[in-house]
Symmetry: C2
Subunit: 130 residues, 2 copies
């Protein structure tokens, strides 16, 4: 069986919800909101989320245990992500800076090791909250 290149019903339901949201959503918030669509258990949500993260449709904000849709058209795979997070209103914005991603992809550690996969979370105050 080939690796699927389309979304299954549950994956589509979860993605639709996350894409409609202006803020990161938590797994159980998603669960609550998709119960009317027939998704009943946490595991159904987590499985959909896992897949969507894997294919880069959504990203996990690790410091918040929450998920947002990818807003970076070039981000086909979830491997190099950067976000700014407002510490007051919790607004999260995906950063797509060619300079930043180039710098990080080319960064070498002490051992000369490069990393194509990373997650960067900036914290501060957004425009509104400043």
């Amino acid at each position: 069986m080939q690796k699927q290149n389309f979304l299954t019903k549950n994956q589509q339901i979860v993605l639709d919800l996350v894409e409609k949201s202006s803020e990161p959503l938590k797994a159980y918030t998603i669960l609550f909101n998709v119960q009317k669509k027939g998704i009943k258990a946490p595991l159904q949500v987590y499985r959909a989320l896992d897949k969507l993260v894997e294919i880069g449709k959504i990203h996990k904000i690790e410091s918040r245990n929450a998920f947002i849709a990818c807003h970076n058209s070039s981000c086909q795979v979830a491997k190099a992500t950067a976000f700014s997070i407002c510490e007051i209103c919790e607004k999260v914005t995906e950063i797509s800076s060619a300079g930043l991603s180039k710098y990080l992809a080319n960064f070498k550690d002490k051992d000369g090791m490069k990393y194509s996969k990373y997650n960067l979370e900036f914290f501060g105050l957004c425009k509104k909250c400043r």
Copy 2:
């Protein structure tokens, strides 16, 4: 009462354990290992961890929900952290690169905003696992 500038008993017990460990420790692993020292409840561990993170003695690896001691002498405050994480053996190394921290501290987003606080997690394979 002044902000304490020393560690309390529980904080010291938790810090001692985390500093002795060569790998990130999870909160309940810590709890299990300090029960012989009189720490009985999760909250006692989480409170100590919170404080230790706040003063920069330890860092939380967000993608792993685990804690490691700070190995960066200049890191008095937990505000600008970078780690490499091996996806096979889960070895975590704190990166202290003047270049990297300078680049990130000076990075400006679309709105010209700078961020003095950030957390960066690189993923790849360590020397051994490569």
